[in-house]
Symmetry: C3
């Protein structure tokens, strides 16, 4: 853990306007609820205001509209969340793993590592892989041959970069494998979550732009292009040959189908499946609202025949035993 800092030292490094005792000593960050002496906390969003009165934090980061809600020593700034993130970075260096290659990692010939790179235990890097300066691969990351990762990357455990895309040609009721000979090219300042998979391109490359942030268990298909600073939440996915613009936000579990084009600044809500291209920035949603099961059942039955044209279906209820009994 890093050395303590006074509130004045923090403000000197990160800016903001200091209100209250500048010598207040800060050792670590904490949430409003769990903070104690030596902790700095932050207030972002109206919903948390009630917690401010009861906090035992030594200081707090907040915006000008909230400035008078507390008597605590405080730093007032435009973007308390981002400011607080930087304060936390002072006390908690982002990369927790030492630089160097763990002896239980396996590097093929021709791997090129930048300065201060950290490769965790059990990582496997294929022939000709390159990793930029200050990047950290946590344990058990696999990077297939020929892929490139930029500088300052953080790749979490279990991620697989550069496995074959799902390229199959149908022929007489069977599948012929299409060799996947493209690469994965990842820009700078990218974070990749645990057990996320990014497939290599079929012939051209799969490209992840600078500053892209991918949460856990995300799937990126072959030949996708993800624009700079786009963020995707856990368990979302993009099917092959789709391109996302810059600064997009994709909610948890959302899926974007293949061969589509999504413009800059599009936001896809959690759980939404996007099956058409998006040409206009904005928020897009497609989510069946959850209800009590009995209400859902009636509404879903109505939905199944909304256009009044349902034909005899090929789907069959697996069990009709209750109805059978009722009629029996």
């Amino acid at each position: 853990m890093a050395a303590p800092l006074t509130l004045a030292q923090i403000a000197a490094r990160l800016g903001g306007r200091l209100v209250g005792a500048p010598q207040t000593l800060i050792r670590q960050v904490a949430s409003l609820q769990s903070a104690g002496p030596g902790h700095i906390s932050f207030l972002a969003g109206r919903a948390l205001r009630p917690l401010l009165a009861g906090t035992r934090a030594s200081a707090v980061v907040l915006g000008a509209p909230d400035e008078r809600l507390t008597e605590l020593p405080r730093i007032v700034c435009d973007n308390p969340h981002a400011y607080f993130a930087r304060v936390s970075q002072l006390f908690n260096p982002a990369v927790a793993q030492e630089a160097g290659v763990h002896p239980a990692a396996v590097l093929a010939p021709g791997v090129r590592l930048g300065a201060r790179v950290s490769i965790g235990a059990g990582c496997v890097l294929g022939e000709g892989v390159s990793v930029g300066d200050d990047s950290c691969l946590y344990p058990r990351v696999v990077v297939y041959a020929g892929c490139r990762i930029g500088a300052r990357a953080i790749v979490h455990a279990g991620a697989v970069i550069g496995a074959d895309g799902f390229g199959l040609a149908p022929e007489a009721g069977r599948w012929v494998k299409v060799p996947q000979i493209g690469r994965v090219l990842i820009g700078d300042d990218v974070e990749i979550g645990a057990n996320t998979t990014i497939d290599r391109g079929a012939m051209d490359d799969t490209v992840i732009g600078d500053g892209v942030k991918l949460d856990n268990q995300i799937q990126i298909g072959h030949n996708c292009r993800i624009g700079a600073h786009t963020a995707m939440a856990g368990c979302s996915g993009v099917a092959g040959s789709t391109s996302l613009g810059e600064r997009c936000m994709v909610g948890a579990g959302a899926r974007i189908l293949g061969h589509l084009s999504i413009c800059d600044d599009a936001r896809i809500s959690a759980g939404t499946v996007v099956s058409r291209s998006i040409r206009r920035a904005g928020t897009y949603t497609g989510l069946y609202p959850a209800q009590e099961h009995a209400s859902w059942k009636r509404n879903a039955a109505a939905l199944r025949n909304l256009a009044g044209t349902e034909k005899r279906q090929g789907t069959v209820r697996a069990k009709r035993k209750r109805k059978g009994k009722k009629n029996g």
Copy 2:
């Protein structure tokens, strides 16, 4: 494999009422369809009754209402499924891996292991991790620094516990990383499926209660709290800062969005996305019913304008070639 037992010995250990020859020798469990001599099977649920007549099992476990459906030696009990599970445990010890740390596992300094713990090949345990008595980590489990796993845990291959939560603060079109300094605390008697991921807390901890059962490929976001004895089926997920009550059941592929509170004994159907808190026990569903594609297409078109207010959309069909041809 364990030694054979007579039906009388099984009933003596596990209770139940024995009907038929007490010296019937049992070597293993099997399903009604595939059982043969030396096997014990079970009947749970009316749907499987027709299989009972044809089974070649030496004995069967069933409930009182079904007692007279067979002449086979049998054990009659209140909960045939649970009883049968315990019979199977007699013949098949739950943990198939030997106690001890495999030489190909990597343990950082300060790891504390309880008695009879089994750590598989390729596991990586970070600094200060603790694992309780009788727990089994199958191969290639990663536990990040500081996380705690209770007693009698079963963690399947590829699980990642304690990777960074998805904490990002937006600032001028880019993302500032919020260091994730909480831990993951896992209670006793927890099972965690293959390739499941549980993120460490942002500042406070992510907490998994006693007796929680997580299937494969589940994602638990930072700062979640999963109540005791809750079970989640494969590919489901809980986004950050959501709490689930005790004894909840979450169906396959269901997702619970962030910052919500789900009460005890809630059941979320498979494929459902929960976007609001749930305050009352019961079953909740939100699932677009699958139909033949042509019916779906008409109904979905009607649904898109159900409230009669659809504006010009930013989504565009990727290909209109057929329609184009028709009009040409």
Copy 3:
């Protein structure tokens, strides 16, 4: 990389009708857009026709209807996609990893490997596992004890085969583990994607047929049977005890619930949840259409009460601050 071939040599090996200079030398495949001298490309589908005029490829594979769209040396055939896949296989052997067992793999006693098998770094194979001739396991694949993989398999990094199925019996608000004593049996010519999981059977086996193709992050539950030549796209899943027929196609993110039976040649669209058995070949879809958020909100509200019977709900909006303010 393999040696160059003339167009005549390619046609001699793979068939098709050659038009243009037979001595055209080909070194590699490429897409129409990125091809240059020495590359062969292909045209499949009307949408890509405009790219044909501008390509710098040395030759192209196409169907008879498109034969006159270019002056380039070309091979005319019935199935350009499959033909091209085979051309690419000539230049790019499917398995990029050398035969043999990597020293950082861990094989338990009793593992049986066929001829020319390749086992990557960090793989862990349990007792009695068998792998057929010419199969390739990329790094960090785990195969639990007793499971069998056929010939010519390609298994990508992070896949877990044979972990316990999710077998639990409820008893007094807790869960009793049902030992999972079946195996996973995988046929010949199967491909399994990165971080995909296939659970072992509860008592009987989980069976994957010949020629099945599974993309990344797929979950196959215990006791499933997947028919020959079925293909499943990324992040799809099949819950326990469901059987899929032959030649089915399952779209990205689709889920098939448990204890169902899906007939041969069924196609499940991306994002669809199948909750009933399917008895008739065809395409099945159930997908809430994505729209601009405001339109979705109104339509979803109407959908929630489509049958006019919605009762007071147990779900509550997490935040009503805006409404509260309006009324205040």
